[in-house]
């Protein structure tokens, strides 16, 4: 029983890490621009596809393909901000919402056109499995978990310890006051989209290496990402981290101990229960 709980927790950690990375991107974008960036999942999966393409068609080693994909993700994020969201920044929120939906369909379509309908798995060649007591962990999962922790830590450091990071927080908390501090509020959204998309691409690569990318997978992740935001508390960084981890592990434990048929349902039930007790989310500021 103990081994099972431990194993299920470890099972849920990897996917939880993916949720956290997706949610961090969503929460940053939401915090700065108030946009529900639905296309984030599809864009993230594009990064996974790109890595797959670089590895299988261009013959690059995975470790070389990943940085290229992350940089490409950053650039893609800039483009999305400039081309898709900037024109509607001062318009009604419904406009940005519709842009987000349209962008989702567009990116899904592009993914399908470029990479086809068959699921793809990024080949890593990592198939070793570690055993500790009764608990088993594939090495790839360990790397994914470590990479997620490193990326989250890097993001936290960036936001807490650099001027640009602090400016991002400042704009999210009080846009006018941030202007008075000399923050260029035109460049902050660019940086935010660049970084968020990079994080998303990292998540896409993890999904592609650990599981598979196929049409529709990205949309599933963005729904989970928003669930994490709400669970953790809108706009809260630690909330997204805690929420993603909790959701991943809850899903795993729910599937293992209650019913795999209702895995997703149970995860959302837990979310609703949390919100009944804490409407602002686990770590959200109280209204």
């Amino acid at each position: 029983m103990l081994i099972e709980i431990l194993q299920q927790t470890i099972n849920g950690l990897a996917i939880g890490g993916v949720y956290v990375l997706i949610a961090l991107g969503l929460t940053t974008v939401f915090g700065i621009l108030g946009i529900a960036h639905f296309a984030h999942g599809s864009v993230s999966m594009f990064g996974g596809y790109l890595t797959f393409f670089l590895v299988t068609s261009q013959g690059l080693p995975v470790l070389a393909a990943i940085p290229i994909a992350l940089v490409a993700g950053f650039v893609l994020g800039l483009l999305i901000e400039i081309v898709a969201y900037r024109p509607v920044r001062h318009a009604n929120h419904i406009n940005a919402f519709i842009v987000a939906l349209g962008l989702t369909m567009m990116v899904e379509g592009i993914n399908l056109q470029l990479f086809g309908h068959e699921q793809i798995v990024i080949p890593t060649g990592l198939s070793k499995v570690f055993r500790l007591g009764g608990v088993t962990v594939p090495e790839l999962r360990i790397y994914v978990i470590i990479a997620a922790i490193v990326l989250v830590a890097a993001m936290m450091l960036f936001v807490e310890r650099t001027k640009t990071g602090q400016a991002i927080r400042a704009v999210a908390e009080n846009r006018d006051a941030a202007i008075l501090m000399g923050v260029n509020v035109n460049s902050i959204p660019l940086i935010v989209f660049g970084i968020s998309t990079s994080l998303g691409v990292a998540a896409g690569i993890m999904v592609g290496a650990l599981f598979a990318i196929a049409p529709g997978i990205g949309e599933g992740f963005v729904v989970k990402g928003f669930a994490v935001l709400i669970l953790g508390g809108l706009g809260s960084f630690p909330g997204a981290i805690l929420g993603g981890t909790v959701l991943g592990i809850t899903e795993s434990i729910a599937a293992g101990f209650i019913s795999s048929a209702y895995k997703d349902v149970i995860a959302f039930v837990v979310m609703i229960l949390v919100l009944l007790i804490r409407p602002q989310g686990l770590l959200g500021r109280s209204p």
Partner: protein, 404 residues
């Protein structure tokens, strides 16, 4: 000199007229394909649509369909039903109402196919179902519907007998059990297992989008089963096999996935697959294929620059069935006569799958065809055909007739 040129010109003119009149005798028969060309079901649907097109080209090149003194060249319109019931209904309505199509082929996926089957009985059209495995599609005895692929539980029955013979007592199932025909397959397996006192101790579910099966497998691991049975689409099933190994589960693995080597190796290493059984309709397998099958594989690969999926001949065979039936009925317009002729047909010589006739006919009274089932095992990077599964088409056909 002048004369010879003139003669030559006349000859050419005469040739042209002759050719034109030969063209005039050729008529066009437009057939429809409704299948999943995009989305999750496209793995099955797209190769089916390709297979129909290939069969049409072959038949046209060989002279077309001959009805009395007329020769029909086949024209194919394919619509994407995205494996979705609503889309499929729309696609078929469009084919019948707008394009005036009378013969509709394809149909890889159960949900969309069932939706069309529910109204096709009222139409002046003939529906030929391919890879869709849901049993109820042929339990209603719809006179203008036939299916080339046997229902999943026909195979399940054979698989259950096979697993029972291996002597496992406690078997854990993990699969896409929210899909009707996969559940039916497992029910059939369970019936056979019970006959020898074995049991299914767990039925874990994964959905079409699940790729992380470790929670389900961890639960199964704690139950200590003698074997696991994996039923579901290859995209998900491949992860079950891989993650079972990663979780250190060293027990016999049986499956019903029909995935190709290529599809599995995208997800797993060959070592992770070693020893896995796939208990499924024999379908297109080069090791057990007929001459037709080998030629089909070669032609398809050449034409589409990709290997055909093992289930794609279900659709290829549909068109040869249709051709034989139209020629036997002597009409392209009377769909009732053509539907009747299909039911009366012996197995046409050009088909790729290895059908088991019932009372000498390709389709039984339910409009259902039966192929042999095989036990395939993954050995050193390849699916190897090991043996035929013990399947009894006649007995199953009678069982199917009792359902509705």
């Amino acid at each position: 000199m002048f004369n010879r040129v003139k003669t030559g010109a006349f000859a050419a003119l005469a040739m042209a007229i002759a050719t034109a009149s030969a063209f005039a005798a050729d008529k066009k028969l437009t057939i429809g394909v409704a299948d999943a060309l995009t989305g999750g079901g496209a793995v099955y649907g797209l190769p089916q649509a390709n297979a129909v097109r290939m069969a049409a080209d072959e038949i046209n090149t060989a002279g077309g369909i001959k009805v009395g003194s007329d020769t029909y060249k086949i024209d194919v319109i394919a619509y994407d039903d995205k494996a979705n019931p609503t889309e499929a209904t729309n696609a078929v309505r469009k084919l019948i109402d707008r394009d005036g199509v009378k013969y509709i082929l394809g149909f890889c996926c159960s949900g969309s196919t069932s939706a069309v089957a529910s109204f096709i009985g009222n139409e002046k059209a003939v529906m030929l179902v391919g890879n869709a495995a849901e049993r109820s599609i042929t339990t209603k005895k719809i006179p203008n519907l036939v299916r080339t692929r046997p229902p999943a539980d026909f195979t399940g029955q054979a698989a259950g007998t096979f697993i029972a013979r291996k002597g496992h007592k406690r078997i854990a199932v993990i699969g896409a059990l929210d899909v009707g025909f996969y559940a039916q397959y497992v029910d059939s397996v369970e019936r056979e297992l019970k006959k020898v006192g074995s049991e299914i101790i767990a039925r874990e579910v994964f959905t079409l989008r699940d790729r992380d099966m470790t929670p389900q497998l961890t639960k199964i691991r704690a139950l200590n089963p003698d074997a696991i049975l994996v039923v579901g689409y290859v995209e998900s099933a491949a992860f079950v096999y891989r993650q079972a190994v990663e979780l250190g589960m060293n027990i016999p693995r049986y499956g019903f996935t029909s995935g190709s080597e290529e599809q599995f190796l995208r997800v797993t290493t060959s070592a992770q697959m070693e020893g896995v059984w796939d208990l499924r309709p024999t379908e297109l397998d080069l090791l057990s294929a007929s001459k037709n099958g080998i030629a089909y594989h070669a032609n398809y690969t050449k034409k589409y620059n990709a290997s055909p999926s093992p289930s794609s001949p279900y659709a290829y065979d549909q068109l040869y069935v249709l051709k034989a039936a139209i020629e036997a009925a002597g009409t392209v317009d009377d769909t009732v006569a053509v539907a009747k002729a299909i039911r009366a047909l012996a197995i046409p010589p050009q088909v790729v799958m290895q059908y088991q006739p019932v009372d000498g006919k390709m389709f039984d009274v339910n409009g259902q065809a039966y192929t042999s089932n095989g036990a395939f095992q993954w050995q050193k990077g390849k699916w190897v055909f090991v043996e035929d599964l013990p399947s009894d088409a006649k007995a199953y056909s009678q069982f199917l007739s009792t359902l509705n």
